[in-house]
Amino acid sequence: MTDYRMHLLICGGTGCKASESSEIKNQLDQYLSEYDLDQEVQVLLTGCFGFCEKGPIVKVLPDNTFYTEVKPSDAKDIVMEHIIKGRPVKRLLYKNPKNDYEVTTATNIDFYKKQIRIALRNCGFINPENIDEYIGRDGYAALGKCLTEMTPEEVIKEIKDSGLRGRGGGGFPTGLKWEITRNVQNDQKYVVCNADEGDPGAFMDRSILEGDPHTVIEAMIICGYCIGADTGLVYIRAEYPLAIERLKIAIGQAEEYGLLGNDILGTGFSFKIELRYGAGAFVCGEETALIHSMEGLRGEPTVKPPFPSVSGYNGKPTNVNNVETFANIPVIINKGANWFNKIGTEKSKGTKVFALAGKINNVGLIEVPMGTTLREVIYDIGGGIKDGKQFKSVQTGGPSGGCLTKKFLDTPIDYDNLVEAGSMMGSGGMIVMDEDDCMVSIARFYLEFTLEESCGKCNPCRIGNKRLHEILTRITEGNGTPEDIDRLRVLSEVIKDTSLCGLGQSSPNPVLSTLNNFMDEYLAHVNEGKCPAGQCKALVRYEINPELCTGCTLCFRNCPVGAITGERRVAHFIDQSLCIKCGVCFEKCKFNAISLT
């Protein structure tokens, strides 16, 4: 193996790849070979660094220099300046927005300061397509320890003592789930990894699979050893081609090293892993629906009990865990339950990965200890609200969660606190909204999602959500009545109480939480025919104030439908019958001459 003196790590996550990170790698490789440095410096495409806002990211090792917003054309300077002359390329360094100082290393960037990375420990550090790099960072050590030094009962006890709870949303204690499945007598059992990430705005499972696939494989083998299963199945979204490819490579390498297959590490324990592809159905995140989908059926949930632990895939006992849950397992085994359970709050241990997005300065993937407050996440890590606007709400838990207001900013984040606040942990989507977001529209947006994703099996969910959506649409179009608000609440409660599975039971949450926290906005729509945020098209008008308009023609030139008329240096005019209320003129106007009423 070549002994490199330097490594250039480039983010190969989805966001950065979309911003040409593969091309950056090609360019770097090209310049390195031009200067005969390709035997000294290695360029690697790694998993997600998390700091998506400032991507593509290039990190230089061993000096830890952290370059942001790199373009393929910057490759030459990185090679010429940094690698040959040994001085960092200043213009590519992250600038602290507070004081404009350049920050050279990631650890000094506010975005990373409060994070503790357990599930994401290897993302952005290793080449996910090389098993040796995973092994170099204690990979498969936990598996070795479990198989050779611990009984399945001891491993389960360790997981139970760690306090780890399911990271897919439910928060069920992982160790307990394993124990239940272990105690069911059957000669065929299955381990299933739920990688059907369907929550819009959450991409942590994908990042783990793309950035560190071996950790999931290792944990699945450990789980198999504990519950007495010889087969693992990964149920993964077909829309994640990169994650599928990397997982396949990882499985192949693990088999080659004797870590998967027959007689693992000479212990007599055998385990194999196969992939099953999801085909885009949110409800398949629900265990029973997921199992039906793996059996080739429509992914409709069934009543529990029987739980999958007793009767799951092909009627056999099946243990289903989510990707992020599995990613925690090897660390717990290596560092011990007592290390893990010191992190977090009383009932929620460890860390949680969140996909922080929306109207926030630092969009990205973060991992923080349980108990971190929303304020710390939004302001310290997230860098506050975009464009200096006012914080309005943060939505957690995806379509099943709720919108939290300012008064919850200092609530420590854990499973129970979020539920108490009227939301939930979910898989970890965290969408920040500002003053321009209409909460009635947001509720309607989520209902539109559940409406499409409802499998249609039970009436409350299939019909009830449709009615909720109709009422919300009516309100956003200015045709709502005060009675509609009562109807929303009553119907929501009924759907919650009578739906069959988690999807239906939680689908009214966005409605209920916005009703509870933003009633004034509902009332403004219904009583005054106004949308306070100015987002509901039917309720707003764009108008040009002739006194402020300078006749610069910018709005005229940008209007996509030609609704604006006027000549240079003469005040312009919007024809309301043509206006499609796209808001482009409003955004473009430099003189605040366009108002929203």
């Binding site: 996550g13 989805t14 966001g15 790849k17 979309a18 911003s19 040409e20 593969s22 091309e23 998506c52 400032k54 991507g55 369907g198 929550d199 819009p200 705005g201 959450a202 991409f203 994908r206 990042s207 077909a238 829309e239 994640y240 099953r276 592809y277 999801g278 085909a279 885009g280 159905a281 989908s293 059996e295 080739g296 059926l297 429509r298 992914g299 996909a355 997005a357 929306g358 109207k359 969009v363 990205g364 939505q395 995806g398 989507g429 969408i431 909204m433 977001d437 947001i442 947006f445 989520y446 999602f449 499409e452 499998c455 940008n558 996509p560 439908v561 499609i580 796209c582 808001g583 482009v584």
Partner: protein, 168 residues
Amino acid sequence: MPKIKLSDNTINIIKEVCAEFDNKESELINVLHKVQGKLGYLPAEVQEVIARELKTSVAKVYGVVTFYSFFTMIPKGEFPISICMGTACYVRGAEQVLSEFKRQLKVEVGESTSDGKFSLNCLRCVGACGLAPVVTVGEKVYGRVAPTQVKDIIAEYRNNVCDVARTA
């Protein structure tokens, strides 16, 4: 929808895929993935062949095809356009971008243009929330798309001057 006459070649492709999975009914979803990968879409006639091969009912195959959003019974355009409607993209204005595409292409979501060049769809989260709102055309990802850019994106493909180098 007019009935399509499948060529013998197409029927053989479908049969081969089914045989690859031992004609097992439980492999239906995998079969559908593979067939759609080869043919681009799954019209009723294709579903009939699959049902016959897997010895199951057409109703069951149809039930599965229509259940999952990944499977489509309508052929995609030469350049499939997808607008990300994940929450992050939504709050950053994806809806305006979508309505601009609808207006420019004169199609609704799930439809293709009459010349078969473009099809318009929504998808749920590409995982590039840092670039919201996101639009994908084929494999290529466009980030931070404003409604005013929609025209240019369409023009890029309408005139077939696709910049292959930037394909992600």
